[in-house]
Amino acid sequence: MPLEPFADSRALTLGVELELQIVNTHDFDLAHGAPDLLRLVGRRKLPGEVKPEMTNSMIELSTGVCTDYTGALSQLSEIRDVLVECASKLNIGLSGGGTHPFQHWSDRRIFDTPRFNMLSELYGYLSKQFTIFGQHVHVGCPGPDAALVLLHGLSRFIPHFIALSASSPFVQGTDTGFHSARLNSVFAFPLSGRAPFTLTWEEFGRFFDKMTRTGVVQSMKDFYWDIRPKPEFGTIEVRVLDTPLTIEKAAALAAYIQCVARWLTFEQPFRPAEDDYLVYTFNRFQACRFGFDGTFVDPQTGEHRTIREDIAATLAEIEHHAIELGAEDACRRVRDDIGALGNDATWIRQTYEHEHLLAEVVRQQCLRWSR
C-alpha cells in the first residue's frame, strides 16, 4: 500500500484520544466490559467517537476537531458524562491511568476483530501485555512538510509530555519505581521509537516505500512511534502520554502541546537537526523514570537541568501563545503540577501509601475520572 496523501487540516487544531480502563466494582480488577459498554454508548449521540481497543478491558474515546482548550474540555466532559452514565448502568467503573496497577496480563482477552486478532497472533503475549492506556493528541498541520518540521521540533519536548502525563507507577501489583512504566511496554515493540529524520514529505515517502518493500510494514498504523504523522487526518499525533486520571488534565496537556506547537511554528526558536536525537532516548528515560526530577539534556547546548526547570522555562516562552489560544487555564494547571501538586503517578503513590490496597487506589481513580 503506498503512502496516502496528506489530508488538509486547519493548522493548530486539536484532537484528543484517550484509552480508558474498564474495571469491575467489587475488587476493581480489569473487567471484560467493552462490548457491553459500546452497545449502550452506541444508542447515544456524542460529539466524538467511542471505539473498541486491543482487549475487552479497554475502550477508546476521541473528540472531534477542537480549536482550543475550552472546546476540547467541553467535548471530553460531554463524552465522559455519557460513558460514566452507561458504565453505572452496568456496574462497571472507568478509570484513567497508564497501567492498571495489579491486573494480570494473562487474564486479558483480545477484542474480536480481524485486525486485533492478527496483531495478537503476531505479537503473542506482547499484545496482552499491551493492556496499557495512553492519550494521543493530534495537532493539525497546514501541509505535509510543515507537519514533519513540527514533528521533529516537538520531539525535543517529549520528556515534558511524559513527565506531565505520567500515571503508571504500578505494574502487575508492584511499584516499578518509574513514573511512566507504560512506555517500557511500548519499547518492546519492534517499530517503536522515533520517526526517521526527514523534513519533507517526499523524502518521508521514499523511507515509507523502502519500508513497505521490505514487507515489515503495510501502513502508517504499523509504526508505534512517539510522534507520527497521520496523513489521513492531516495531523501529527503525539503518542507518549499516559492517560491522565482526569479529563481536565487531558485537556490541559493537549492545550500545552498546542501552545508549544504554535510557538515552534511562529517563532521557529530551534532548527530541527538529526543531532537533536543524540540525547533523545536519555531524556525520555529520565522522564519515564524520575518524572519532573529527571535530568533534561538540552540538545542544542548540552546543558543539564531538571525536566521541571525546562518546563518552567518553556511555560515562560509560550505565555503569549497561550493567551492567543485561550489556554491560560491549561498553562496554570501545568504550572501547578510542576510545583507542589506533582503528576498523577505521584498521586497514585501517595494514595497507595495511605490506603495500602491497590483496589482502593483504583476505586479512587474511578471517582476522579467520573467527576
Binding site: T25, H26, A31
Partner: protein
Amino acid sequence: MTGDSRSELFFLPSWPPVPDAVLWVSLTIVVAGLIGEFVFRSFRLPRVVGYAVVGTVVSAFGLGPSDTILKPSFRLIVDLALALLLFELGSRISLRWLRTNPWLLATSLLESALTFVAVYFTLTFLGAEARVATAVAAIAVAASPAVAMRVASEFEASGQVTERMILLTGLNTFYAVLATRFVFGWLHAQHAGIWLGAIAHPLYLFAGSAVVAALLAYSVSLIARRLDLRNENSALLLLGMILLALSLTKMANLSTLLVPLLAGVLLRNSSERPWIWPRHFGTAGGALVLMLFVITGSVWSFDALMAGAGLGLAVIAVRLLAKMLVTVALARPSGISFRQGVALGVALSPISGVALVIMADLQGLYPEFAAELTGIVFSAIAVLELIGPIAVQAALRYVDEDNIR
C-alpha cells in the same frame, strides 16, 4: 493373675472394626474430590456436579438420610457452608447498582412474582392442592447461591450475566425466605386459627436477622480496618466470626440464610472501600462447600421421586420459562443483549441448598404439612442439583463469560 478382665491382646481393635463418623466424612471428601476432578478433566463440567453425583449415588444405595429429613450434623454443615457462600454473595450485591439501573430491580421483582404465579397455577392445574401449590410456589422463588457462587468462581467467570446472576440470586434468596415464612404461617393460621404468628413470624425473622447481620458486618469491618483480609489468618478469623454469628442466629431462632446474606450486603454497602478475601475463605470453607454439595445431592429417595417427580419436573420447566421470559423481555432496557437475557434466565434456574434449608425449617415447624411437599420439592432439588451447575456453566459459556475452559 489379678482381676484384669481384658484379654492379653487388648491393644488389638475389636472385630469387626467399628467405623466412626470421621471415617465416613473423610471418605466422602476424598471420593467427592476425586470424582469432582474427574468430571472436570474428562467432561469439562463443574466439579460440584461430581460432588453432587457422590451424594446421589450414596442415596441410591440407601445409605443416605433415609427419612429425607436433614440430620442435625448434616444440617450444621449445610448451614455453615451456605452461610459462607451467602456472605460472599451478599458482599457482591451493590444497592447502588439497583438505584442506577432500576430495570434490574424490576427484573428481579417481576421474575420472582411470575415464578410464584406460574408455579402455583401449573401445580393446581395438574391437580395439586391449593395450599401445597402455594407453598411450593413460594419455595420455587428461591435460587441457588451455592451453585451460582461455586460455578462462577470455578470458571473465574466475569461479566454482566455473572454479576446479574449473583445479584438476582441474592435477591431471590431474600424473597424466598420471607415469602415461605409468610405463606407457611398463613397456611398454618388458616388451619389453626391463630393469626398473630402468621404476620409476626416473618417480621421477627427479618428484624432479628437484620440486627444480628448488622452486628456481624460491623465487627468484620472493625477487623478489616486493622488486618489485611487477604492474609490466611485474617480469613480464618472472618470464618470464625461468621460461624459465631450463625450460632447466635440459631439460638435466637432466626434465619440462618438471611443473617449471612444481609451481613454481606450491609458490609458491602456501608463502605466504599473494596473488601477482598480469599474465595470461600480458603481451604476450610472449600471443604464445607464440598460437603454441602454431597449432602444436597443425597437428599432424594425413590419414594419421593415416585410421589413427586412429575410435578417436580413441571415446576422446573415452568420456573425456567417464567425467569427467561422476564430476563429476555427486560434485557434491552436493563442494558444487556437478547443473548445475555437468555443466558441470565438459564443461570437463575438452579435451586438447591436454600430450598433444602427452607424445607428443613418447615419440617421443624409444621412436620405434617412439610411431608406433603417433600415429593415435589425434593424431586426438583435432586434433578436441579445435577443439571443446575451444568446449566449455569452453559449459560456463562454461551455469552463467553467463563475464563477457564
